[in-house]
């Protein structure tokens, strides 16, 4: 669209500790990582950051405002563009967006959105393949290598044809990985807060770890589903993703902000589909996930499905997490062998 976009580097421990220094103590980890990452992007030459606003009840709605004030205090030169959701009418929203992107034709914008969305869909499709292959592959890590390579290629594609080509190529490559077809893998549903689910660094690559331990992992949230449900759905046409919310009743009967209700709904759905266990990942002090956490014992009781709750914070030591996951998986194995529904792990 003619804008010069600087993609911040992937979050590392450095960006986290930079973020922790400058953000409020009890803020959730996504804010801390974002702040650290934006400071790094500033050092790379970015002069404007774009943030979406919100209208609650999750804290995310105030991120942009707080970041602006933090950067002001630090003396970092940053222009802030906060796109608020259309609460007072679509026209206002449209004019705001127009102000941000400048004189670009709407046709180009639509094309840009289409390409971005297609990219998200394809990345998610490939990721689902990888999730299936990970526990079964003989040579651990092959699928991840191919996937990372594909991500770089997708990033560079300019139109839909190229994208399709990359997709087919990667699919072929993934299919040719030698796998142990006879292995009976554990099925684990990964639920929780969107940022910690989608950003591998924030959750200490929990998905990869579970995969390497021999479990098939399915997430409750994928980026393309989220985009479909929240950004491309308007009053005039509705696109529905996986609707996990309807499963949450009678455990949780109301929207609690963030992804609390999706967490409960998805775990009920997973339990009904015959998954072996649920892992919940959430940032410490995340309000909607705490509500969900309080309700999990009831879900666990009713469906006999074990739940492991993991809160992520500034702590980046991986051994503790690995031990917990290993223990959880061993318990699941033991439970599956006995087929005794009475053993509950929670």
């Amino acid at each position: 669209m003619g804008l010069n976009v600087i993609v911040p580097p992937r979050p590392t421990k450095d960006s986290l500790s930079l973020g922790v220094q400058h953000s409020p103590e009890f803020a959730c980890i996504p804010l801390k990582i974002c702040i650290g990452n934006l400071i790094e992007a500033n050092q790379l030459g970015a002069d404007t950051f774009l943030m979406v606003g919100g209208c609650g009840p999750c804290r995310f709605g105030l991120y942009g405002q707080l970041m602006k004030e933090i950067f002001q205090d630090l003396g970092i030169n940053y222009h802030t563009l906060i796109i608020e959701p259309p609460d007072t009418g679509y026209w206002q929203f449209v004019t705001r967006v127009k102000k941000v992107i400048g004189p670009v034709s709407w046709w180009k914008i639509i094309q840009g959105i289409q390409l971005g969305y297609k990219k998200a869909v394809i990345v998610d499709k490939l990721e689902k393949y990888v999730q299936e292959i990970r526990p079964r592959e003989f040579n651990k890590g092959t699928a991840d290598k191919i996937f990372n390579n594909a991500l770089q290629m997708i990033d560079q594609t300019q139109n839909l044809d190229e994208l399709e080509e990359v997709f087919c190529l990667t699919k072929e490559k993934l299919w040719h990985i030698p796998q142990d077809e006879s292995k009976d893998v554990l099925k684990i549903g990964l639920v929780g807060e969107i940022y910690t689910l989608l950003e591998p660094f924030a959750s200490l690559e929990i998905e990869k770890k579970l995969g390497k331990m021999g479990a098939y992992v399915h997430r409750s949230l994928y980026l393309s589903d989220w985009v479909k449900e929240h950004l491309l759905t308007t009053r005039f046409f509705k696109l529905k993703g996986n609707d996990y919310r309807s499963y949450a009743s009678p455990f949780l009967n109301h929207f609690v902000g963030g992804h609390g209700i999706e967490s409960i709904g998805a775990s009920v759905a997973f339990a009904q589909e015959g998954y072996n266990g649920i892992v919940q990942v959430a940032p410490l002090t995340c309000m909607p996930e705490i509500v969900a956490h309080n309700i999990f014992p009831q879900v666990s009781d009713k469906y006999g499905i074990p739940v492991l709750n993991i809160y992520v914070d500034e702590q980046t030591g991986e051994t503790g997490l690995e031990t917990r996951l290993e223990a959880f998986i061993e318990l699941l194995e033991a439970k599956r062998k006995k087929v005794d529904r009475k053993i509950t792990i929670c």
């Binding site: 409020p24 103590e25 009890f26 803020a27 959730c28 606003g53 919100g54 209208c55 609650g56 009840p57 999750c58 804290r59 709605g61 105030l62 942009g64 405002q65 707080l66 004030e69 205090d73 906060i82 608020e84 609460d87 455990f251 949780l252 009967n253 109301h254 929207f255 609690v256 902000g257 963030g258 609390g260 410490l284 002090t285 995340c286 309000m287 909607p288 705490i290 509500v291 969900a292 956490h293 309080n294 309700i295 014992p297 009831q298 709750n309 809160y311």
Partner: protein
């Protein structure tokens, strides 16, 4: 027939007790309120929910547990989503009845009406859910609600104070910020009010500024805040900064409170700009009072010094006030260093 309804003395009880007690009494229902918070209640609450939950919710569960073996027909636990337009309370309040049902506490049947005024002010469903177990007469319910709202307005009106106490020179004006359930539960906040009064302070709370004043002051903030308690706190800070006199601000928040983690940070920035001293007290299950008393006394001393000796180099919050040599002047003895940071 005499119905009995139980209301836990926690969370929203502290904001809306005139409304609810009057309403249920007008319907001919006896209102039973749980006892004041004590150690047994807090312990019970802590045991009933997961560790990550914040203190007020734990206290709420403790209070709900006191109704286990009591002769009460219903327990009143509304699902408070929003009490004003475009503002929520807190995600935890939205899931409160569900969290209570999921816990191991045995409780009487719940009355859990939904209060949601995000989009419209209509309260028909709420009223009907509240009152349908007791009476079917719509007019009676409407009348009771009207009286109750009147009572609530009177109560809020009584709390409002127009001026700071600048007639008495010895007294300091302290704005005590916090959510209602932390401010008025004297077990949870360890008798902070009494302690402040013993130190010759006049205590102000957000409720002492009228809602109109708070909302009009809040326009200074570039974005509309979508939490009712957040609006109260920030609005009160803006209003308080307008009034004359020597003052300080104490913020009471609970450990792990998601709303306060952001709102406190925004408040600090505004107070540091105005050089108003600020103290952040974070409450949790800890009940040792010694640490709190020391911090309070130190804080009050800072304000006294700033008032009596005009020593503005006493840090208001979070900034380093020494000079380049690391000397910090005490009682007017200034460092001769030229690059001192306390020139203001």
């Amino acid at each position: 027939m005499g119905w009995k309804i139980g209301i836990p003395r926690a969370l929203f009880y502290y904001t809306y007790f005139p409304l609810w007690t009057t309403f249920f009494q007008a319907l001919g229902v006896e209102v039973v309120v749980s006892p004041l918070t004590n150690k047994a209640i807090l312990d019970q609450g802590t045991k009933s929910v997961v560790d990550e939950t914040c203190l007020p919710v734990k206290v709420f569960f403790g209070h709900a547990a006191t109704f286990t073996n009591k002769n009460v027909d219903f327990l009143f636990v509304p699902r408070l989503i929003s009490v004003e337009k475009k503002a929520y309370i807190c995600p935890k309040f939205m899931g409160l009845p569900d969290m209570l049902s999921a816990s191991k506490i045995k409780h009487p049947p719940l009355i859990k009406p939904v209060v949601n005024k995000v989009k419209s002010e209509q309260d028909t469903h709420f009223l009907w859910d509240c009152a349908s177990p007791f009476t079917g007469k719509w007019l009676k319910i409407k009348k009771a609600w009207h009286d109750a709202e009147q009572e609530q307005r009177n109560y809020e009106q009584k709390l409002i104070r127009k001026y700071l106490d600048i007639t008495d020179d010895r007294k300091l004006n302290i704005l005590l910020l916090g959510h209602d359930y932390n401010l008025y539960d004297h077990y949870v906040n360890m008798g902070l009010w009494q302690k402040l009064q013993d130190l010759d302070c006049t205590v102000f709370t957000p409720a002492q500024f009228s809602k109109e004043e708070r909302d009009s002051q809040l326009r200074k903030f570039p974005k509309s805040i979508f939490w009712t308690y957040g609006r109260n706190l920030l609005g009160a800070v803006y209003s308080f900064m307008q009034r004359p006199g020597k003052k300080g601000v104490i913020v009471l928040s609970s450990f792990g409170c998601g709303i306060d983690s952001f709102i406190d940070n925004l408040i600090i920035r505004r107070l540091v700009e105005q050089k108003i001293p600020y103290l952040n007290v974070i409450l949790d299950e800890h009940t040792g009072e010694g640490g709190l008393v020391t911090r309070l006394e130190a804080f009050i001393d800072i304000i006294r010094w700033r008032r009596d000796y005009h020593q503005n180099y006493v840090s208001s919050y979070g900034q380093y006030v020494g000079c380049c040599k690391g000397n910090v002047g005490v009682h007017g003895t200034k460092c001769d260093c030229t690059t001192s940071s306390y020139k203001r």
